[in-house]
Symmetry: C2
Subunit: 534 residues, 2 copies
Amino acid sequence: MLNSWTKKYYLEMNKPSEEDNRTTKERILDELKAQGHEEPTKLDHKVLQEAYGLCEEYEWSVTASLVYDGMIWHVNRLEAGDTTDAHYGIAVDNGSTTIVMEVYDLNTGVRVAKKTAFNPQIKYGEDILSRIFFTREDPANRMKLQKETAEGYNRLMNELTRETGIDLTSCGFMVISANTCMVHFLLGYDAFQVFSSPYAVQTLNPDVIPASELNIHMNGYIYIYPSKANYLGGDIISGMIATDIPNKESISVFLDIGTNGELVIGNRDFLICGAGAAGPALEGGSVKTGMRADRGAVDTVVIENDEVKIHVLTGQGNVKPDARYGEPEDVAEPKGICGSGIVDLLAQLFLNGIIDIRGQLNPDKSRHVVKVPHPEYEEGSNEEVLAFEYAPGLLFYQFDIDEIVKTKAAAMTMVEYMMGLVGLELTDIGDFYISGAFGTHLNKESAVVLGMYPDFADRRRIRQPGNTSLDGAVAMLLDRSNADKAGAIIDMMEYVQFGAVAEFLHLMVAASAIPHTDLSRYPSVVEELKKRGK
Amino acid sequence: MLNSWTKKYYLEMNKPSEEDNRTTKERILDELKAQGHEEPTKLDHKVLQEAYGLCEEYEWSVTASLVYDGMIWHVNRLEAGDTTDAHYGIAVDNGSTTIVMEVYDLNTGVRVAKKTAFNPQIKYGEDILSRIFFTREDPANRMKLQKETAEGYNRLMNELTRETGIDLTSCGFMVISANTCMVHFLLGYDAFQVFSSPYAVQTLNPDVIPASELNIHMNGYIYIYPSKANYLGGDIISGMIATDIPNKESISVFLDIGTNGELVIGNRDFLICGAGAAGPALEGGSVKTGMRADRGAVDTVVIENDEVKIHVLTGQGNVKPDARYGEPEDVAEPKGICGSGIVDLLAQLFLNGIIDIRGQLNPDKSRHVVKVPHPEYEEGSNEEVLAFEYAPGLLFYQFDIDEIVKTKAAAMTMVEYMMGLVGLELTDIGDFYISGAFGTHLNKESAVVLGMYPDFADRRRIRQPGNTSLDGAVAMLLDRSNADKAGAIIDMMEYVQFGAVAEFLHLMVAASAIPHTDLSRYPSVVEELKKRGK
């Protein structure tokens, strides 16, 4: 039996009689005890409003749903007959762009359904800061955002209910993993402090909260992953639970590249962590022809003899489709380039000598390098810029390359700086994780060439764990003892403030090279360049 | 400082700074600890939605309201500046006819205001059984009754708010004392089982419940007195707390005569209790010209030389007015007779020989005894009945007398039977309580003549404690340690089922005499009769 936050018990009770005239409440609580449920348990007031009628109608054979609120158990639902088979819970990854929801069978631990939707907050701003300004315009907007978010949850639950036939409003528990800002938005708290020094946010540790208090239509409670700091949110703690890094003997590096970059280094003996602005460019966010990993996105690039070979995604939907290698007759026209395509493209440009170690395009090295008017200058301006035409009519500009290099440099600098803090060398690292959708679909070799992953001889140590925020939410849903573990992880973590560190700049310069100024760290890249006669 | 269910703390906190960037939640909880509040405490989710703005605006000087839910404390409100002076709570006696509400200053324990209203359930039936049938007609009616009751509370709170200028919706705590049926109605539970064998009710022990779950407009929690049994409700447990009988060395008899008669006998070593149908007649309920203790009610009767002298209440309002001896110029016309008047009348009739030991009117003994057509027979019937004209045009019928005698006999039989069970004699009794409005305004001498009180030489042992249900609610509001005491009292109590006992009938016959067949128990009555030459 799973150690979840909810339990269901089928109760066959005696009818009230002269000999046994216990109250309905006692009758139910006594029977739960008789079945081995010994923990402190409260029969919720509302349940007693309907209990007697239901018990009488079904001859005192009913199923009780129990849910744990972090302190005690609640009997919060009674159903006629034996419904113990139907026992579900919900795990959510609440990102700033998308909300992913999964439904689990809590008897078996098996996933029943999954659905993703855009975060409805987007209508108040694509980026988080715009949303914060929205909440600051008028105090009422904070609750507006809260309710919109909750409505997003409710819509997802409705759609999943339609798809599965499982009434999700009757679920007893939901686990949410999200960063500190998303948690503040969801709770209706002032999130300004998340981004404003001294970063004294409202809370890093939301309690288990009744769903009704969050306007989420579910008869139960919600656990929200606690955060370590304003920039190191519950989604990272969730990633720690998902990857089990804090229990390993070998030292791991865990890098989450999303809207920001978050980093944890450590093992069962220590955990240091930090966060910095290193993110959206790598997801295609600030690249001129960048796009999400959706139909029409170039996700794979190979350059051979100045011939650019691309793969174009054919998948449908809002998220990374699993139809990456879709039906061959379904060919999509390229419309832009997504994260994994960008990393491929830059690696190929470098390996073919079309960009140098600083990422500068060299027009002499490829016929696809063109000089064009700068797309962001006014018409009539004669400012020109180099670009690489990776597909007919689709240009990757010099400033796009610069942005990507800067971003990867920032991320890698964080890693190097933190490792330096605790006196670690790359050779001390067991596994190197890049989590998130971006990390999942990355071509490992390209990423190594770019210097985003260490050049491990054993490529299996390059980990692409996917959506660890969601996976940690699932782990929490299936095993409530993870809540104590999450608390212990936070206590163990040492948070490092970047930014005001002189050494940081120095490291940044080194990491801004492709793959790095110290090429000795990248033997396989050197080997490949040699092979190509460079 | 009172040991109430709520506390208020004025917090002067540091502003967030680089050196101290604790979260708002930590800042508040830490400051509470620093001020000596060490118990487990949760900052309610909703509070954090407004906390930061308020703290910023008032330079982190705010007042936190804490409330205890029976398990942990909640910070459930923040206010600007120091508002610790304004700290109030509510005590309620929820009777089947009237709801009495009192507001207390929880800093001083002083009563601030009091208000009474009819129980709005009356519109669904004067008597409780009609209300139960109403809830059985349609399951939706149960919640209808619940909401009507809550609305009654809300109206009383609104009126008290208007009167006092204290916003009662911001009170953190309310204590309610009521019988088991009233508790079921208030909670929206099926109350049919309260009156239906095997009396397996929904619960005898409601937890502390958020006011919002009861549709009562108050930002806090509600304690409802637990019951011992279906017929021995929280109002009696409340009476035990109010009178402190379970802590006394001497043995007390506690009789509550309302819609039913409830009885407790005991001291700190034992408590036996029971309940039976012995009530409404004594409150004037089933007497033809009976009325509530309101303007126009005869509340005092003296008969001298066949001259009937009466006092008529001039008070206004729905409840027993304190204007019993109102302005002499304000003279009310008699319209009927209330409980204390009835007891006076019967005692005077008996002492003047106008009724005999069985309560039979003797037309030869008074010119006020008249023979009239039975008021409840069809016109044209020649059924006649004796009656005593206690005021011009106001008749007290033979069947009224019979009803009163039967009721007092039932109550006294309960007392005698229970005393017999534990082998007690009247001489073992220290104090004899009759609680309720009826008991309060009773003329002790008349009550002794009637055999409703024992003929104690020390009349101070005849206790008229008033509304002990309300007093116990107040005691609970002011000192939450009484909750444990209430639980211990219930555990200590031994509930005796009357009814199916052969001995009961025999006792009943003896108790149906005025004052009793065994006159040796009533020496002062014998003395008085002798004085009068009877």
